[in-house]
């Protein structure tokens, strides 16, 4: 009897760990709920219910004893889609019966403890720089402006990453980053390096655009996760507002 009780608690731990990693790495709510339910079911939980919002997970599991429920709080959210994929494949293996409870816990712990991103920050920044340059061309800018957009876009993402470490308020980091982009773009045009300031700014702001949040918000709303959908939509709107106001400050001084 006692052993079973412990076992039920262990199932709960594994499910919550999987859910936590996925939610922190930027998965949709439906995927998190589905994965947790599947893991609980495959590991032998009789019936489980979960309620996932962007800031907390409530998970309860039925057993012979009174229902067990646990709440965990999610404070830090990043974007690391590789981790979502990894947890997804662990859950697949659990469903196929390839992993025992203990093995799956260790597998998930290993994913969680690899706290570093899949790509190093220099790689990410250069990717952002390259993307900014390419967006400039896609928005019919001239190749003259490629280098300014390249530099401004890279500087934008770099400053978001560092400012977010300095001040843990996302809004401020994004506002300051777009301010930096605006100032840099203005300087490039002022010194004659760049031609069209509009195109340079649009291109270099693109890496900051809340694309993942927007997509997740739509998908969450679609699957009926109204609370998560609306709060992610609000977060996306706030980010867009931060970027917009940063640029607006620069534009109003030109």
């Amino acid at each position: 009897m006692d052993k079973e009780k412990i076992y039920t608690y262990d199932i709960m731990e594994v499910c919550l760990l999987a859910g936590k990693i996925m939610l922190q790495s930027g998965a949709e709510t439906a995927r998190v709920e589905d994965t947790m339910g599947r893991i609980a079911h495959s590991l032998g939980g009789k019936e489980s219910h979960n309620y996932v919002t962007p800031t907390a997970i409530i998970f309860s599991i039925e057993s012979e004893q009174p229902t067990k429920t646990k709440l965990i709080r999610i404070t830090e959210r990043t974007t690391d889609l590789h981790k979502v994929t990894l947890v997804n494949s662990v859950s697949r293996r659990i469903s196929n019966g390839e992993l025992t409870l203990e093995e799956s816990y260790h597998a998930l712990k290993e994913i969680e403890s690899s706290s570093n991103y899949t790509y190093s920050i220099p790689t990410q920044v250069s990717a952002a720089a390259l993307a900014s340059g390419c967006f400039l061309i896609m928005f019919k800018g001239s190749w003259y402006d490629f280098l300014p957009a390249f530099i401004a876009g890279g500087a934008g993402l770099l400053s978001v990453i560092f400012l977010h470490r300095l001040v843990p308020i996302k809004f401020f980091a994004e506002f300051a980053a777009s301010l930096i982009i605006g100032i840099l773009s203005y300087l490039f045009v002022f010194t004659g390096w760049g031609v069209e300031i509009d195109k340079i700014i649009i291109g270099s702001v693109m890496p900051l655009v809340p694309g993942l949040l927007l997509t997740n918000a739509v998908r969450d709303l679609m699957t009926g996760h109204l609370v998560s959908g609306i709060s992610k939509g609000a977060e996306a709107l706030l980010t867009a507002f931060a970027i917009g106001s940063g640029i607006a400050v620069v534009l109003s001084f030109i």
Partner: protein, 154 residues
């Protein structure tokens, strides 16, 4: 012909670079680029041939979602990875920027109409995603065999 080639290459690189920014695994970067390229080319060709940009965005995001679903099944990875990479180029960043600029310059009428357009474009993206999801669900429903009870491991 050259502009098209330019657009193809830059959209591919930009979408793959977004895969890196969002930390997707290396194997997914190429498909990410392909999804982004497909969406952007449809949008580009349609707007070049004087289609309304809302319709073009709708068509492009629909195609992005369909291809993403194929890739997600092929690579057994969460669909969100491909959708995000494909959607990013369609986000009306330029429109929103123009709206913001006009707000700052006190051209409120123009600014509001641009903002409304940007809002419509975002709605078109969402609608495209929803359409493809509906189709996916319908296909899944028709394919679904009678439910097999999952085996429970003790």
């Amino acid at each position: 012909m050259l502009p098209i080639l330019e657009q193809l290459i830059t959209s591919f690189i930009a979408s793959a670079a977004f895969g890196i920014i969002f930390n997707t695994q290396k194997e997914s970067l190429l498909p990410c680029g392909v999804v982004g390229m497909a969406g952007w080319v449809i949008y580009f060709l349609m707007t070049e041939s004087d289609f309304d940009s809302v319709g073009a965005t709708l068509a492009a995001s629909f195609v992005v979602a369909v291809i993403s679903q194929l890739f997600a099944k092929m690579y057994k990875t969460p669909i969100i990875i491909f959708i995000v990479a494909g959607i990013i180029p369609l986000v009306p960043g330029g429109m929103a920027y123009d709206a913001m600029r006009n707000f700052v310059e006190n051209n409120y009428n123009l600014a509001v109409s641009l903002a409304a357009k940007a809002f419509l474009l975002s709605g078109a993206i969402a609608l495209g995603l929803i359409f493809s999801e509906v189709i996916n669900q319908v296909i899944r429903k028709t394919k679904e065999t009678p439910k097999i009870k999952m085996k429970r491991t003790p």
